[in-house]
């Protein structure tokens, strides 16, 4: 079953060219089926509580090669998020004006990105992680450049150049760690890291750098706004919603948990970088005039939150970070869905040309409000609970100053999102936009789904906690053994 997480999307991608020849219409349904399958399976695992006090492990020999996979609480959350976000991305793409000719290729790339992310999530050693990371990255380079226009190329190029630097350093770090521990699986690495020493610290630095760059934390975020803005609307949903989160944030959490432990040196740095990203990201978002660009900076800021939660170094902080990771995937893809809808309907993303759309696009308007409130951490939406847990964790861990920062950054968050609301949705309809109509249901249903998830995982927080976060909690105990 674990292997299916990797193989199903891979196969889906592989049959795409064939399907294109024999059954053009079927190409649409394959990615939908694959993602729905992933949601259902993951949801079932979560619901059954299979990984509540342990993990699903797979260790099998195939063709003289050992294959070790694992699914625990953390991977569960990630897999669910991947499934959900890629599902809405695919749904959104159905009506998005892509070249019909190239559509199967596009779907294949998305499925490959999913493959990469799934693989990364279930992998048990650093090198495999690296490989899957590369799949995700390369697939996203191409997807960003999909429109083949100047902006897309530029965004893709920047992403690639910086990402290449990151992967080089990641590889070097892997090599260094491999050299001193003689293995690349998490268990072996963790043993080696305990010995300490300068090499370990250098590899810490490299890994930290690589992952910070991948996740787009300040000051390594340069590529992020351009990449998000330049990509086609559905791609930016995927990219902002999940790709960078898995590539950067999930990896960071996983490595901290499995390899580094809550090392205070590492944690302090993470805390500072997280706080800087949170605050500056929010401030930069405040000055934007482009819908997607604002959301991109918002992503930077939110990732800062996750990192701060992680850096609290307590179980509570971990839960907060993981939950915020999940929530962020949901509400950020929701907001990008909204931006895509607005762009589809009006043909622009510039605030100066928009205004009062809530009247004409009620569904988009309402869901965007939900996304906004969840991002800003206003109860009873899901974003509130995760932020709350992060703040409580920071305070309880003694990082009082950072708790303050976390709290006040949410005001700036609210400020820029209100700016967005004011300029796009909430207000009198702008001249020239009177003829705008709501986008088609295929486009707005994904938004409704995401909004519903945000609302219900906020209101039913106890349930979410039981099914999704408790496994994470138990994970710590598991690792300590």
């Amino acid at each position: 079953m674990l292997l299916a997480y990797i193989l199903v999307p891979l196969l889906g991608a592989a049959i795409m060219p064939i399907l294109r020849k024999i059954w053009q219409k079927g190409t649409d349904s394959v990615p939908i089926l694959v993602t729905v399958y992933q949601i259902i399976i993951t949801g079932w695992i979560a619901y059954q509580g299979i990984v509540l006090n342990g993990s699903l492990n797979l260790e099998r020999w195939i063709l003289d090669q050992v294959l070790a996979l694992r699914l625990d609480g953390l991977s569960l959350v990630a897999l669910l998020a991947i499934g959900l976000v890629s599902f809405v991305t695919v749904l959104f793409s159905l009506r998005y004006p892509l070249d019909e000719d190239r559509r199967p290729g596009y779907y294949a790339l998305i499925l490959l990105a999913v493959t990469g992310m799934n693989g990364l999530v279930v992998a048990t050693d650093l090198f495999s992680m690296y490989v899957f990371l590369e799949i995700v990255s390369v697939a996203s380079f191409i997807l960003i450049a999909y429109q083949y226009d100047e902006f897309g190329m530029e965004g893709s190029f920047k992403y690639m150049m910086l990402s290449a630097v990151a992967t080089v350093f990641l590889l070097v770090a892997v090599a260094l760690l491999f050299a001193i521990t003689g293995g690349v699986s998490f268990g072996e690495l963790a043993q080696g890291v305990k010995t300490g020493g300068p090499v370990v610290f250098i590899s810490f630095a490299f890994i930290f750098f690589a992952l910070a760059l991948k996740s787009g934390m300040m000051p390594f975020h340069g590529w992020l706004p351009d990449a998000y803005t330049a990509s086609p609307a559905p791609v930016s949903i995927l990219l902002a919603g999940i790709v960078t989160k898995i590539a950067g944030v999930y990896t960071m959490i996983r490595l901290v948990l499995e390899v580094f432990g809550f090392n205070s040196v590492f944690m302090n740095l993470l805390l500072v970088v997280g706080a800087v990203s949170t605050v500056l990201g929010a401030f930069f978002a405040l000055g934007q005039k482009d819908f997607k660009r604002m959301l991109a900076y918002s992503s930077i800021s939110q990732i800062g939150y996750i990192m701060m939660g992680l850096a609290a170094g307590t179980p509570l902080g971990l839960i907060g970070a993981v939950f915020h990771f999940f929530n962020h995937a949901i509400f950020k893809s929701l907001l990008f869905l909204n931006s895509g809808a607005v762009e589809t309907a009006t043909g622009t993303r510039n605030f100066d040309e928009l205004g009062g759309l809530a009247e004409k696009m009620p569904v988009t308007g309402t869901t965007s409000v939900i996304g906004l409130l969840s991002t800003a951490g206003i109860p009873p939406l899901a974003g509130f609970w995760s932020k709350l847990v992060i703040i409580v964790a920071l305070w309880m861990a003694g990082f009082k100053f950072f708790a303050f920062i976390a709290v006040f950054a949410s005001i700036i968050t609210l400020a820029y999102l209100l700016l967005l609301q004011r300029n796009v949705f909430f207000g009198k309809i702008k001249q020239g936009l009177e003829g705008i109509r709501e986008v088609s249901p295929v486009v707005y249903w994904p938004a409704i789904i995401m909004a519903a998830i945000t609302v219900f995982s906020g209101i039913l927080f106890p349930l979410v906690y039981d099914k999704l976060l408790n496994p994470v909690n138990s994970l710590l105990g598991l690792l300590a053994k």
Partner: protein
């Protein structure tokens, strides 16, 4: 360290730096391509043929294709403008040499430390390294299939678009 190794590293690094500094995209991309080829050779030399092939296919092949395409889409600047850009370009880059020098300085000052820091001594343990590297990589095989697929689809998708534009 053998001489041809040093040469190879030089062949890799120099184009890479040029790629980073070049003001014109086309030069940059070509330099990148050359650098990738150098890297592939280094990898072959280090008994890592699959990695080498991968580097060649993705780094040199796919990405270079991608960028040559993108460059071909852009419009060249007028002469004066281009000169002006260039001047600004280099001015913006003054940070990088400083950083590189700084990095070098640190590395140089800690020379002994670095040498001592690496506990491995090379050939003796290469067997076990090899085993670890190549014996347990079942998952990576799938991954590499994925990468190849990505490359294929990428080329298909982008080329098709490129052709349509022409």
């Amino acid at each position: 360290m053998e001489l041809h190794m040093v040469l190879l590293i030089a062949v890799t690094l120099i184009p890479m730096i040029i790629a980073a500094f070049a003001a014109e995209l086309i030069k940059s991309v070509i330099a990148l391509l050359v650098g990738s080829v150098g890297l592939t050779l280094v990898l072959f030399n280090l008994n890592a043929p699959i990695a080498g092939i991968f580097e060649l296919s993705v780094g040199a092949g796919l990405i270079a294709v991608l960028f040559i395409l993108s460059v071909s889409l852009t419009r060249p600047l007028a002469k004066e403008e281009s000169a002006e850009r260039k001047r600004q370009h280099y001015r913006r880059f003054y940070v990088l040499p400083i950083i590189i020098l700084f990095l070098g300085l640190i590395l140089y000052l800690n020379k002994d430390f670095w040498i001592n820091a690496f506990p491995f001594t090379g050939a003796q343990e290469s067997a076990s390294f090899g085993e670890v590297l190549w014996g347990r990589r079942g998952l990576d095989l799938i991954g590499q299939i994925g990468i190849i697929l990505v490359g294929v689809f990428g080329v298909i998708v982008l080329f098709r678009r490129g052709k349509m534009n022409e």
